[in-house]
Symmetry: C2
Subunit: 435 residues, 2 copies
C-alpha cells in the first residue's frame, strides 16, 4: 500500500465538517483518483464538545490550531478558521513555515495576504491552494490557472456572491424590495446577521482580486477594487431594467486597461445590467458563475454552487487530491516574483452604456434640469422611462439608458446635479454589459 | 535559463496551424506560466508546399510523422492528424513507445484506443493528454478529472457537437427545416461535406464515451453508446416543443445505473427536450456545454467554444503547459487498471417523460388507434398537440408528451403501432430532461 497523504483540519464549521463527511463518504473513490488514501490525522476547533453531526473521536484533537502545523505526522494543513488575519493567518504562516502544504477556503486571507503566503510557500517548496476561496464548488481557479493557461486573458467577470444573487433574483421574481428580501434571506440562513460583507460587495471584491491576479498574472490588489453593493437597488430598478431587456446582477469585473500604453488593472464590483441573451442573465438564486475571455479560447463560462458545505468541501478536497497526486502548481499560476505590478486603471475613459436612475420630487422643471446637466456633460440619452409616484415616498422614478460614451461624462453630469433640489436621493448608476 | 519543453507537431490543418500561431503569439506569457519556454522542434504534414498562413520555415520539417517520434530532441508529440486509426494511431503508439509524452485532439482515436494508449503511457511513464478531444476550448476533462475529483459523479451530460447545436438553434430561430439549414451550414463551412459524423451523433458519442470514463472511473465503452442524430427532427417538432416550454438539443447523456445492484453504464446521444429554465436551453450556435452532477459539488456547468482553431489550440497548449509544469496526471483521472469494467445499462426501466411525434395521414380513426396503443402499453399522456396538415406532404403532425414512466412502455406502444397504416413515417421519441 502506498503511503497516505496525512492532513489536519483547522476549523470545524459547516465547511470543515463537510470536508470530514466528504473524505469519509468518498474515501475509496478518492484513493483511486489520488493514487493514495487521504488520512485525517488531526482536527482542531474552538469547542470540542459541540455536536457537529460527524464522529470526530477517531481523529486526534488539538485545542490550539497552531499545534496542527507542528505535528510531524501531518503533510498538509487545511485552514477553515476564517478571518483575514488572526488565528487563520498565524496558522497559514506556521504551516508553511514548518514545510506543510496549505489548503484554505479563506478568500479574505488570500485577498489580503495571498502574495506573502505564495512567496513563503515557494521558498518552502510546498503547495498553497485555495480553490474553495472563489465561487465555492466551481473549479474556476484551476480553470483559469491551468485550463486557460495558454491564453492572454482579456477580461474576467462574474457572479461571485450567492447571497446578493439570491436577493436580486428573488426581488426580480417577487417584485419585493431589497430590505424585505434581505430580512427573509437572513431568517432562512442565506444571509448573515451582519450582511455587510455580502451585500456591500466586499466578499465579491475579495474573490475578484484573486481571480484577476491569476487571470492577468498581475500582483494581487484587493485595495484597488472599486466596490459598490446592492443595497441601493430598488424593486423599481429591476422593473425598469426588465422593460428594457435586462436583469440586474452584482458582477465583479476585471480587465487590463492599456489606454495609455501601460498595463493598468481595472477591478470593479458593482451591480450591472445584463441583457437577457447573456448567459449570466440566467444565473439565479445562490448560483455563482465566472466568465473568462481569452485571446484564443474565446469566452468560457463556469457555473455552479457558489457556497454551501458540500460544494465548498468538494473544492477543498480537490486541492488536497492535487497535492496527493504530486501536483503542486503555483498559487497564482506563475511564481509570485513573476506577477506584474500594475497600477489601478482610471475608469473615467472607459466607454460603456449606463443606466441612471433618479428618484425625484414630482414638480415642474426637474426633468429639464436633469436633461440639461446630461447635455452639458456630453451624455447622450438613448431611452428614458418615467414611472408614477411612489405611494410611500412621493418620489417619481426616472430611469435612463445612455448611448455608449465615457463614464467620466456620466460622472460629470451627476457632479453638475450634486446638491440640486431636484434630487431626492443620490442617483444610482449601473453599467450595461454587452451580450 | 531553464530547459525548454521541446514539442513536435503532426498535422497542420486548422488546429495544427492554430497551435503554431498560439505558441508564437503567447510565447512570453506561456513561458511565465509554464516556468519554461515551449519550443517547437519539428513539424510534419502531408503537403510541405501548402500556404498555411504561418511561417513554418523556422521549424524542422519531417515528411513522415512517424519520424517525429524518433527524434531525440523531442519531449512531446502533438498528434493532430485525425482519424481513429491509421497514421494517427501509429504515431501515438510510436511516440509513447519512444518515451515521449503525447497530446492529441483526436476524439475518435481516444474513443477507440484510449485505454490501450493510457496503459502504454503509464508503462512508459509519460503523459497522455487529450483536453482538446472533448468540447474544444472548454477545459472539461481537467474540470472532471481534477476539479471534480473529490466527487462521486452521478451524471454527466451536455451539448457536445457544435454543428448539431448550430443547426438546431438556427432551425429554432428561423423556423426552417433540417435539410435546408444543413445545406446552409455546409455552404458556410460550419458542417462538413459529409456531415454524417456530426449530424448522426457519432462525434458526440466519441466525446461522451471519453467523459463517462473520466467521470465514473469506468472502462471506456464507445461501442455501447446508443446513438441517434438530429436528421429526423422537423421544424414542427421545434415549434411544438417551444409551445410546451422546451427547446430541442442534441445531448450526450451518461450515468451509472444501479437498479439491479450492479453498476451499469448508461450512455446515450439523442435529441432531448430541454426546459427553458435549464442552463442548456440557452446554449446556442456552435457553443458546447457540459453539466456534471456530483454527490458533494452539486451541479457544475462548463460552457464555451466547442470547436474552431483558436479554442482547440487553447486546449492543446493547456495540455502542453501541464506537461511542462511536470503535471502528468492519469489519462482517465485514475490508472487504467483501476477503471471499472461495466456492462451497458438496460434502458427500458429508465423513467422519464417523453415527447413522441407522429406524422399521420389526415383520416378518421388514426388518433383512436394511437391512443389505444398508448393505453395498452400503459403510457399515460400528459398533453397532446395536433397540428394542421403539412402543405407538401399532406401529413398531420401529432405531438404528445407523456407522464413520467418507464421508457419500455413507450417502446411497447410503438411496437404495437409498428406497420400500422396510420403512421406515415416512423414516430420520433425524445426524452425530456428536468430543470
Amino acid at each position: 500500500m502506498v503511503e497516505p497523504l496525512n492532513i489536519a483540519l483547522a476549523g470545524l464549521g459547516t465547511v470543515g465538517t463537510g470536508v470530514v463527511r466528504l473524505i469519509e463518504t468518498n474515501a475509496e473513490l478518492i484513493a483511486r483518483r489520488a493514487r493514495r488514501p487521504i488520512r485525517i490525522a488531526a482536527v482542531s476547533a474552538r469547542d470540542r464538545t459541540k455536536d457537529r453531526g460527524v464522529d470526530l473521536s477517531r481523529y486526534d484533537w488539538e485545542d490550539d490550531p497552531a499545534a496542527l502545523a507542528a505535528r510531524s505526522d501531518v503533510d498538509v494543513v487545511v485552514e477553515m478558521v476564517g478571518g483575514s488575519d488572526g488565528p487563520a493567518l498565524a496558522l497559514a504562516r506556521g504551516a508553511i513555515g514548518k514545510g506543510k502544504g496549505l489548503v484554505t477556503a479563506n478568500k479574505a486571507m488570500i485577498a489580503h495576504h495571498g502574495l506573502e503566503l505564495a512567496s513563503a510557500a515557494e521558498k518552502a517548496g510546498v503547495a498553497l491552494k485555495f480553490e474553495a476561496a472563489v465561487a465555492g464548488g466551481i473549479p474556476v481557479i484551476k480553470g483559469l490557472s491551468e485550463g486557460a493557461a495558454a491564453n492572454a486573458i482579456e477580461r474576467v467577470y462574474g457572479i461571485l456572491n450567492g447571497t446578493c444573487n439570491y436577493i436580486l433574483s428573488t426581488m426580480e421574481d417577487t417584485g419585493r424590495d431589497f430590505g424585505d428580501v434581505l430580512a427573509e434571506a437572513q431568517r432562512m440562513g442565506y444571509a448573515e446577521a451582519d450582511p455587510t460583507f455580502d451585500v456591500e460587495g466586499i466578499d465579491a471584491a475579495h474573490k475578484l482580486s484573486i481571480l484577476a491576479a491569476i487571470a492577468f498574472g498581475s500582483r494581487l490588489r484587493f485595495d484597488a477594487v472599486e466596490t459598490t453593493g446592492i443595497s441601493r437597488v430598488k424593486a423599481a430598478d429591476i422593473e425598469q431594467a426588465r422593460s428594457l431587456g435586462y436583469v440586474i446582477r452584482l458582477l465583479g469585473m476585471s480587465e487590463i486597461d492599456r489606454t495609455d500604453g501601460t498595463a493598468r488593472l481595472f477591478q470593479r464590483v458593482h451591480p450591472h445590467l445584463v441583457p437577457f441573451d447573456h448567459p449570466l442573465a440566467h444565473v439565479d438564486g445562490a448560483t455563482n458563475a465566472v466568465v473568462a475571455e481569452g485571446n484564443f479560447m474565446g469566452r468560457l463560462l463556469f457555473q455552479g454552487a457558489g457556497a454551501g458545505d458540500g460544494p465548498t468541501a468538494s473544492a477543498v478536497v480537490a486541492d488536497i487530491i492535487d497535492i496527493a497526486r504530486g501536483e503542486k502548481g503555483a498559487a497564482f499560476s506563475m511564481p509570485e516574483g513573476e506577477l506584474e505590478a500594475m497600477e489601478p486603471a482610471e475608469t473615467g475613459h472607459r466607454r460603456s452604456r449606463s443606466y441612471i436612475r433618479f428618484a425625484v420630487p414630482d414638480r415642474p422643471g426637474v426633468l429639464a434640469e436633469i436633461t440639461a446637466a446630461m447635455r452639458d456633460a456630453g451624455v447622450s440619452i438613448a431611452s428614458m422611462i418615467q414611472k408614477g409616484e411612489d405611494a410611500q415616498t412621493g418620489e417619481v422614478i426616472l430611469a435612463m439608458v445612455t448611448h455608449e460614451g465615457p463614464e467620466s461624462a456620466v460622472t460629470e453630469a451627476l457632479r453638475i446635479l450634486d446638491g440640486s433640489q431636484s434630487l431626492a436621493v443620490r442617483p444610482l448608476v449601473m453599467q450595461i454589459i454587452e451580450g
